[in-house]
Amino acid sequence: MSPDDPIIRMEGVSKFFGDLKALDHVSLSVASGEKVVIIGPSGSGKSTLLRTINQLETIDAGRIVVDGFDLTAPSVDICQVRTELGMVFQSFNLFRHKTALQNLTLAPMKLRKTPRDQAEREAMALLEKVGIAEKADRYPAQLSGGQQQRVAIARALAMNPKIMLFDEPTSALDPEMIGEVLEVMLRLAREGMTMVVVTHEMGFAREAADRVVFMDEGKILETGHPGTFFGNPTHPRLRQFLSQIL
């Protein structure tokens, strides 16, 4: 893999749920360090696209290459590839039987055999980074939505992934908590993390995205720099969509 190769390359990816074509010949490449924001109406396939990148959804046609691993190759160790892909879910999905700290240390300790004290030190540093170190010993149920989502981001970072995937990370949050999560994501973006983000937060898209992708009915209809994308949308569906949400 040469340094110029994209870190994610999707070629002609299709995905069916029964008769429903959730992804229709989607091609998308993401360069290392690039931030791509995906927008589109409900049911357009945004989550499905994101989830095929770490194979939480398998694909029916096409090819996906992540960091040099061909995900469709039968020999690929998908668990190995997933350690390079952090994922943040709309519903946080923190492990409910573990404290915030333990949520972060579980994977490094079990999968990488990191010694406990080292894992805990690194976890504390990450919790510090997302501004929630003082809640390290709380269980998820004792945290607010915004706090849970920040822990979830830290948990995904604990495996030192090269890429972070976000699926509507602020959609389940009360408005006053959205800011604290976006702030953490912006920080991550500034540090050079490769990010693919499904979101309706256009402010975040404007500020952080190198590229915005518009999906509708399983297809990518338009892609562009946020400036031109929002300032001068060409596709009528996109214009309609933007007029609805802005």
Binding site: F17, S47, N54, L56, C79, Q80, R82, T83, L85, G86, M87, F89, Q90, S91, N93, L94, F95, R96, H97, L106, A107, K110, L111, Y139, P140, A141, Q142, A152, R155, A156, M159
Partner: protein
């Protein structure tokens, strides 16, 4: 929303164990206390004021109680192991494993326990005879393993799919996710119904007295038929079963209360 659709409801069918005390039933004069104190007083009264034959009967029975507990503990232990694998099999994405586990549950649930006992001891015994005690434990655990399988399946499915996805997105395999993330959460849902199955199983062990296993009921039968004191003996036997299951059901109830949520550490 696909993730929401996969969420399962946290309702688990409880077995036919003795009733668990409910909140409104916790006053000083609850049905539980009435039954418990009544049974104890009844036994004490009979033994003290009519020590012949009741004291003689009571002295004769402890060996049987011991055997009843032996069969119960051995069977529940095995049934839990069988149940875990059956429950995992029932939710396995592997069609073959799934089918085997489901068929096992279907077959076992369709045959009365007494018939299963006869089948393993007498019918299969024609080809390969095993001791009555072993046949008893085997039948009980095969039967309760199927019910336990459903308890495990329901418990595992009560944990939402997002937990598995989160674990897998970190690099855990499905199996590791089950072991590190799902089962440690599911046991809270699983434990109370397992307690109920335990009580139901203890009562059902009385069926093994039909084989040559000297459990509580069989000891009673031996005593009764030797002196034609059926009423006296079976009264005591019934009271002993009652006291044991009442105590156990109270324990299960307490356990259910303690198995709280994670925030209340």
């Amino acid at each position: 929303m696909p993730k929401e659709e996969k969420k399962q409801i946290t309702i688990i069918e409880v077995g036919d164990g003795a009733a668990i005390p409910v909140k409104s039933d916790q006053g000083l004069v609850s049905a539980w206390w009435l039954a418990f104190v009544g049974a104890i007083l009844c036994m004490a009264g009979l033994v003290i004021f009519k020590s012949d034959p009741y004291w003689r009967i009571l002295k004769f029975l402890p060996d049987g109680i011991l055997v009843t507990f032996e069969v119960t503990f051995a069977s529940i232990g095995l049934a839990i192991v069988i149940g875990l694998f059956t429950g995992l099999g029932r939710i396995s994405p592997n069609r073959a494993i799934n089918l085997v586990a489901s068929t096992y549950v279907e077959v076992v649930r369709g045959i009365p326990l007494l018939v299963q006992l006869f089948y393993i001891y007498y019918a299969l015994g024609q080809f390969y005879a095993i001791p009555a005690m072993a046949a008893a434990i085997l039948s009980m655990s095969v039967c309760y393993g199927a019910y336990m399988g459903e308890v495990f399946r329901a418990g595992i499915m009560s944990i939402d799919w997002g937990q598995t996805e989160a674990a897998m997105s970190l690099g855990f395999s499905r199996r590791q996710a089950m072991f590190y993330v799902i089962l440690p959460q599911a046991w809270r849902t699983i434990l109370p119904p397992v307690g109920n199955e335990f009580i139901a199983l203890l009562k059902d062990t009385s069926l093994v007295s039909i084989l040559a296993v000297s459990d509580l009921l069989r000891r009673g039968r031996e005593f009764a038929s030797s002196g034609f004191q059926y009423f006296e003996t079976y009264t005591l036997v019934a009271l002993i079963y009652l006291v044991i299951t009442l105590i156990l059901s109270r324990l299960v109830g307490e356990m259910e209360k303690r198995v709280g949520k994670y925030e209340s550490r």
